[in-house]
């Protein structure tokens, strides 16, 4: 009996002594690492020797991953990457000599070196991506803030691009590289020409051996600007974003906060003149005056320049202290081709886009709380929108501007317009006409195109001798790649940020963080030259602040919007 018991015990022990343990897939904290995607490869730098300071190589190879369905400007509208990694210069240039001095030392740029380092970006959702990259030569990259999250002049740009095409365009300062796709996951069936959905299997997915090349010197600075409003009658500057506004109440500024008064307000049923059938200077001038317009002035307000460019301060804008008289840093040059709605009007760089901001419910007078987005930074359709509205992200709404050459539509059409971003293209400001139309994108499927909404399809001709005419060539507009449908309806109300975009992808957007205070910094306290923050004092560049928006306000004629309301594709859920 005793032996039997012992035997039984031994058998029980042997049976239960299995070596493995089960996988736990029921955990309530979701801490298990679900299968995700990984992008892995090598970044190769080809360029001048890097700068150094204090025994360290200055700068990083910044590799940015964008959803191919919504790539960064100018091809798309993405303002932030879905993921990024910074490969420190100390890693990329592990064997490069460096200075131990406190001062930044940059070797002469007459010698080209090559350096490589591996990179890995994870986790990444299944999908198709493009990879842009640049080497932040002066170590000025600061991804959190719009004013320092992009390459600057002297940096080296690249990405996972078509190198052959890039070689062919060597010397073309306005070159836009062709990004090659990086697919993460297994593609699912899709319509021809569409970017398919992707899935990831149980073991994850690694898009491996992705070669990222950085080697193209960024030739010019970002298109720093601040907006001004021009009196359409006198043609003089009527308001500027750095000035304290009149405490005017508007739907999106219900409290009449003088620091949030839009630099330009446009009724959501805005009516413009139809293009004249006889484009002569007089009719073109009349046509131009029919548009709401903005004057985008190079750099910051004069009083802010010193603080904006001070390297000891966080901004470090690349604005020369003494620009050539009559010149600025804005490069206005031909894009090639014309604007969609009028083949007579050439399309110019920089591209101007007004992007709708999230509706901040706390800007209503009925809400006693301070604004949730006091700096007017959160784009509608972004993930952050939920933080402001408490609702799922709404559509991405963009109103595009028409860039004029030397403030004149007639000059723009007549030309000649500089064909490249050369010295002759430099301007100290540019005038942009605001199209009375909005593109409403599903933020998850920007690649499918937008619903274009316009309050009117016809209007009185700019030529007084003509009657009603179509405002634009409907077919031409409807066939534009970014437009999937044209709908007559009023424009979505709200505040719109203003962006200028160069073909290199460099862009500048107002408002940005330099112009306002975050909630934890306090409220903006205006000063003589610049403002400051009440809790954490620091310089505030009011020209970049929350006045630098265009607001679409109530319709002049409510009946228009009753008959043609804002389409649901353009409204938040």
């Amino acid at each position: 009996m005793r032996r039997f018991v012992l035997f039984l015990i031994a058998v029980i022990a042997a049976v239960t002594a299995c070596g493995d343990v089960p996988i736990d897939d029921q955990r309530s904290d979701k801490r298990l690492f679900p299968p995700r995607g990984v992008i892995r490869g090598t970044v190769t730098y080809v360029g001048p020797r890097p700068c150094s300071r204090n025994g360290n190589i200055v700068g990083n190879a910044v590799i940015l991953v964008f959803d191919r369905r919504n790539p960064p400007p100018p091809a798309g509208l993405a303002t932030t990457a879905v993921n990024f990694v910074a490969v420190p210069g100390n890693v990329l240039f592990a064997n490069e000599p460096r200075t131990v001095a406190d001062e930044l030392f940059c070797p002469p740029e007459d010698e080209t070196i090559e350096a490589s380092a591996p990179f890995t970006i994870a986790p990444v959702d299944p999908g198709s991506y493009v990879i842009a990259a640049f080497y932040d030569r002066r170590g000025r990259f600061w991804p959190t803030f719009k004013f320092r999250n992009m390459p600057e002049a002297g940096d080296l740009a690249g990405g996972f691009i078509d190198l052959e095409d890039a070689r062919k365009n060597e010397g073309n300062l306005a070159y836009t590289p062709i990004f090659r796709p990086v697919d993460v996951g297994i593609p699912q069936p899709a319509e021809p020409g569409e970017i398919p959905d992707f899935t990831i299997g149980p073991n994850g997915y690694v898009a491996d051996n992705i070669p990222v090349t950085i080697g193209r010197v960024v030739p010019f600075t970002r298109p720093y600007f601040h907006p001004r409003r021009v009196d359409p009658v006198t043609g003089r500057d009527a308001d500027s974003s750095e000035l304290i506004g009149e405490p005017l109440r508007s739907p999106a500024n219900d409290e009449a906060d003088p620091l949030a008064v839009p630099i330009l307000a446009i009724a959501q049923d805005v009516q413009i003149l139809a293009p004249p059938s006889r484009p002569v200077p007089e009719t073109l001038t009349a046509y131009q005056r029919g548009f709401p317009s903005l004057k985008l002035v190079w750099g910051v307000a004069r009083t802010e320049l010193e603080d904006a460019t001070d390297p000891a301060q966080p901004f470090g804008f690349q604005i020369p202290p003494l620009p050539p008289r009559g010149k600025g840093g804005l490069l206005v040059f031909a894009r090639g081709g014309s604007i969609p709605e009028n083949p007579a009007v050439p399309a110019l760089w920089p591209e101007v886009a007004l992007v709708k901001l999230a509706d901040d419910p706390r800007r209503l007078a009925s809400d006693p709380r301070p604004p949730a987005d006091p700096q007017s930074l959160v784009i509608q359709g972004s993930v952050e929108e939920t933080l402001i509205t408490g609702k799922p992200p709404g559509p991405l709404v963009v109103i595009q501007g028409i860039t004029l050459f030397d403030d004149s539509l007639a000059r723009t059409i007549a030309g000649p317009v500089p064909a490249a971003p050369e010295t002759a293209a430099l301007r100290d400001h540019l005038t942009v006409l605001i199209r009375p139309a909005a593109l409403c994108f599903d933020p998850r499927r920007v690649d499918l195109g937008a619903v274009l909404v316009t309050p009117h399809l016809r209007g009185k001709s700019a030529d007084a001798t003509e009657g009603q005419r179509p405002l634009f060539d409907l077919d031409a507009v409807a066939s534009h790649p970014r437009v999937r449908e044209v709908v007559q309806g009023c424009l979505p109300k709200g505040r719109y940020a203003i962006s200028l975009v160069y073909p290199t992808g460099q862009a500048w957007t107002v408002p940005n963080e330099s112009g306002g205070c975050a909630a934890s910094e306090g409220v903006v306290v205006p000063g003589d030259r610049v403002g400051t923050c009440s809790i954490k004092p620091r310089t505030v560049l009011l020209s970049q602040g929350s006045r630098a928006v265009v607001e679409i306000i109530d319709a002049n004629d409510p009946e228009v919007c009753e008959n043609h309301p804002v389409p649901p594709e353009c409204l938040p859920p």
């Binding site: 022990a13 343990v21 801490r31 990024f84 910074a86 986790p123 301060q313």
Partner: protein, 810 residues
């Protein structure tokens, strides 16, 4: 049931009853009965005094040969009164020689000397006849004084830093005995505590069990001070007890004392809601032996130990090995998108232990104790926040301890060292595994002066005054810099017996806490009434605090976010606000208890308490990076290349908790060989959010992490045939945990509620003793019903485990 031993069940109680019975019989002159009873007591629970008393009884009855034998066995235990006993032995041997030298004589007619207590009954001689010479029983003065003190009475040292009965303790106490440990078959020390009322046990991984008292348990539990022979094993770096770093195994434990309620008044910081003191077997006592076990998922346990004496020097050495697998795995094989900190995703801990202790008698100078231990191996831990699941591919924990115990002073100095490498268990490729290296050196010294002043009549004053110093040196990759702290403390413990049945116990301690840069005071007071000799009604009020750990004080750790290049920078010392500090956690407790040990077959313990707990430390809300942070902490971290997007760290909770609870427990020995216990714990938490701002309220939820109801019950059975059994049932009611998680959409750290279903855990063991009890084999089952459950919402899914165990003593 003839195989059942004619005895009660609990060894201590059983031995105590036999001892009492034996001493009474001897006092009555019934030497044979008395000696038999004492021998049973000694068999059940050896104690030198029992040998002495047996020897003395033999001497009294005139069997000098046996008397000498037992006195000599007593001397083998190297007693304090060795010289006096040797003199007795020499005297007895002389008498024996004298008797042998004398010619045969007529039966003795002279009367034996009367025992010190009433004379034994003697039978009249039926047939007087010539007999060989027998030694004359020596007079009482030549055989020493009987050792009548109740050596088997339950005694604890943790409640007052001195031996006392639980009846005199100012706090609610419990003891896990060596028998409880052996019969349970449990090989993880914290699991042994599960049977006690008011104790929260939470096994979160195969190797990590967290222990708290009266609630507020958590991953890396930090509110209970754990001692080994009075030496704090609190890991100051984390503010927790990492049980696997102890250099002892369950076989090395004599008993575990648990003191419920705040203990800062005696032990300073960190004895927040109680103290657990593991008392190890004394050098020179007990046998040598080895034990081992092997079971489910290759769970392995092995121990061997040896003990001996050489004159005044006693020693004990032990070594052990443990392999503990995880309950469940995080990562399946074949994943291409992740990497792991260690290759083996099955192992939860693998440790080796070495422990050597000794003591040297110094005559009137007292006893010098010395020793050291080492535990080394690997470990998996569920931590907090981003350190959710970390592994230590290597750790080594060592201690060197020495103490001197004299009549008036206790001096103790120890050095604890912990070295470890750590890494996250798993992360996506390209994401940091947050590797770190830590070395913690603690040197702790304490001097206690003990005095007992008679105040006339029944009044006495038992006083202890002490001073403490603790040096902490921590080098850790996660801290802003190497940190050194010097802690000082003064304490006073006074037990004033006014007049039976009343007593007052007062404690006061003041500590200098360098991080807080202030003195922290911890008073405690208790009023005891003894309605009978073996019962106590106790009312007490106490406070305690837990100082911020090194992690909470000085953390600086860039934590990679799902966006590969961005990080959340956790900082204890906020660069934008260097004056910010996290305050100590605080508790105020009031308790009313009743303990009754009047009966030999039943003991009853109960307590009602109210705890007010506030300032608990938690992860701070995210402080988003602002432009204003540029000059201080807004830039890229040069070591990791990460760019900050926000800052975290630690903060005190705005919410406070009122806890109303109670414990009731019974232990009984209804029939021979049977030991039954049962206890119930009630814990009601009322969360007080009145001090919270609307913003804070948006980030918190109601916390009901402590079960309202807990029931423990168990049976131990020992039979004469050598078959032992035990079964323990633990029921834990539903818990709803408020755990802090990162809400990436809202970009903040917030509490979310995680429900944990109630669960029942049944553990059992069946063993068989043979070779005169020197050998034993057993089967132990943990969670034998196989009821899968978690004991923490993020914990591993626990199933059934079985282990075959064996032990041999020599």
């Amino acid at each position: 049931m003839s195989f059942v031993r004619p005895a009660l069940a609990d060894a201590r109680t059983e031995a105590r009853a036999h001892f009492k019975k034996g001493m009474e019989a001897i006092a009555a002159g019934k030497y044979e009965d008395g000696i038999a009873a004492l021998e049973k007591a000694y068999e059940i629970l050896p104690h030198p005094n029992v040998l002495y008393n047996i020897g003395r009884a033999y001497a009294e009855m005139g069997n000098l040969e046996k008397a000498v034998e037992y006195y000599k066995r007593y001397l083998e235990t190297n007693p304090q009164d060795k010289e006096e006993t040797l003199a007795i032995v020499r005297g007895l041997e002389a008498r024996m020689k004298a008797a042998q030298a004398a010619p045969p004589s007529a039966p003795e007619t002279t009367e034996r000397p009367a025992p010190e207590t009433p004379a034994p009954e003697t039978s009249p001689p039926d047939a007087p006849a010539p007999t060989p010479p027998t030694p004359t029983p020596p007079p009482p003065g030549e055989i020493g004084q009987a050792r009548t003190e109740d050596v088997f009475a339950e005694s604890i040292v943790t409640a007052s830093k001195g031996a006392q009965s639980p009846l005199d303790a100012s706090s609610s106490t419990s003891v896990i005995t060596e028998q409880d440990i052996r019969l349970s078959g449990i090989t993880k020390i914290p699991e042994l505590l599960r049977r006690l009322a008011g104790i929260d046990i939470m096994e979160v991984t195969g190797a990590q069990t967290e222990v708290s008292i009266r609630g507020f348990n958590q991953r890396l539990s930090n509110k209970t001070l754990v001692l080994v022979d009075g030496r704090s094993v609190y890991a100051d770096i984390l503010g927790a007890t990492v049980w696997q770093t102890l250099s002892i195994g369950v076989e090395d434990i004599e008993r575990i004392e648990v003191v419920r309620g705040p203990g800062s008044a005696l032990y300073g910081a960190d004895a927040f809601n109680g103290v657990i003191n593991i008392i190890t077997k004394k050098p020179g006592e007990g046998k040598s032996g080895l034990a081992g076990g092997f079971g489910s998922q290759a769970t392995t346990h092995g121990s061997l130990w040896a003990s001996g004496r050489d004159g005044d020097l006693s020693w004990r050495m032990a070594a052990g090995y443990d392999y503990l697998p995880r309950w469940s795995r995080e990562v399946p094989n074949g994943r291409a998108d992740v990497r792991t900190g260690v290759a083996d995703q099955v192992e939860s801990a693998r440790t080796i232990r070495l422990d050597a202790r000794g003591s040297q008698r110094l005559g009137r100078f007292g006893t010098l104790n010395f020793g050291g231990g080492l535990a080394q191996g690997t470990l998996e831990i569920l931590g907090q926040g981003p350190l959710n699941d970390i592994v230590l591919p290597y750790f080594a924990s060592t201690d060197v301890t020495t103490s001197l115990n004299t009549e008036a002073f206790d001096v103790r100095v120890f050095w604890n060292r912990l070295r470890a490498d750590s890494t996250l268990n798993v992360n996506y490729l390209g994401q940091s595994l947050l590797p770190s290296r830590v070395e913690q050196n603690i040197v702790d010294g304490e001097l206690v002066y003990k005095a007992r002043f008679p105040l006339g009549g029944e009044r006495t004053n038992d006083l202890r005054i002490g001073g403490a110093y603790r040096y902490k040196d921590v080098v850790w990759s996660y801290l802003d810099q190497d940190r050194v702290e010097h802690h000082y403390g003064l304490f006073l413990h006074d037990e004033l017996t006014l007049a039976r049945p009343f007593a007052i116990v007062a404690d006061y301690r003041i500590d200098w806490v360098p991080y807080l840069e202030r003195f922290q005071q911890s008073p405690r007071g208790a009023f005891l009434v003894h309605p009978s000799k073996q019962s106590t009604i106790r009312a007490s009020v106490a406070t305690a605090y837990r100082k911020p750990s090194f992690l909470e004080s000085y953390l600086r750790l860039p934590i990679q976010l799902p966006v590969t290049g961005a990080g959340q920078f956790s900082e204890g010392v906020r660069r934008e606000d260097p004056s910010f500090i996290v305050n100590a956690e605080r508790i105020l407790s009031a308790e009313l208890g009743y303990l009754n040990q009047e009966s030999d077959v039943l003991s009853f313990d109960s307590a009602l308490y109210f705890n007010r707990v506030w300032s608990l430390i938690q992860l701070a809300g995210n402080r988003p990076l602002t432009v204003a942070d540029f000059p201080t902490n807004g830039r890229q971290d040069p070591a990791t290349g990460l760019y900050p997007v926000g800052f975290g760290g630690w903060e005190n909770q705005c919410q406070a908790y009122n806890v109303y609870g109670g414990e009731i427990g019974v232990r009984t020995y209804p029939v021979e060989g049977l030991d039954v216990y049962g206890n119930y714990t009630l814990n009601l938490v009322q969360q007080d959010n009145s001090e919270c701002t609307p913003e804070q309220l948006s980030r918190i939820v109601a916390d009901q992490r402590t079960s309202r109801h807990k029931i423990n019950a168990g049976v131990q059975l020992r039979t004469k045939a050598g078959i032992d059994g035990s079964i323990d049932v633990h029921y834990v009611s539903e818990q709803i945990w408020a755990e802090q998680v990162t809400n990436f959409v809202r970009q903040q750290i917030e509490q979310q509620r995680f429900r944990l279903s109630d669960y029942t855990l049944v553990n059992a063991r069946v063993g068989y003793r043979f070779l005169s009890n020197r050998a034993e084999v057993a089967v132990m089952g943990f969670n034998i019903l196989g009821l899968e459950h978690r004991e923490h919402p993020f914990g591993q899914l626990m199933g059934r485990r079985v282990m075959l165990q064996g032990m041999y003593r020599f």
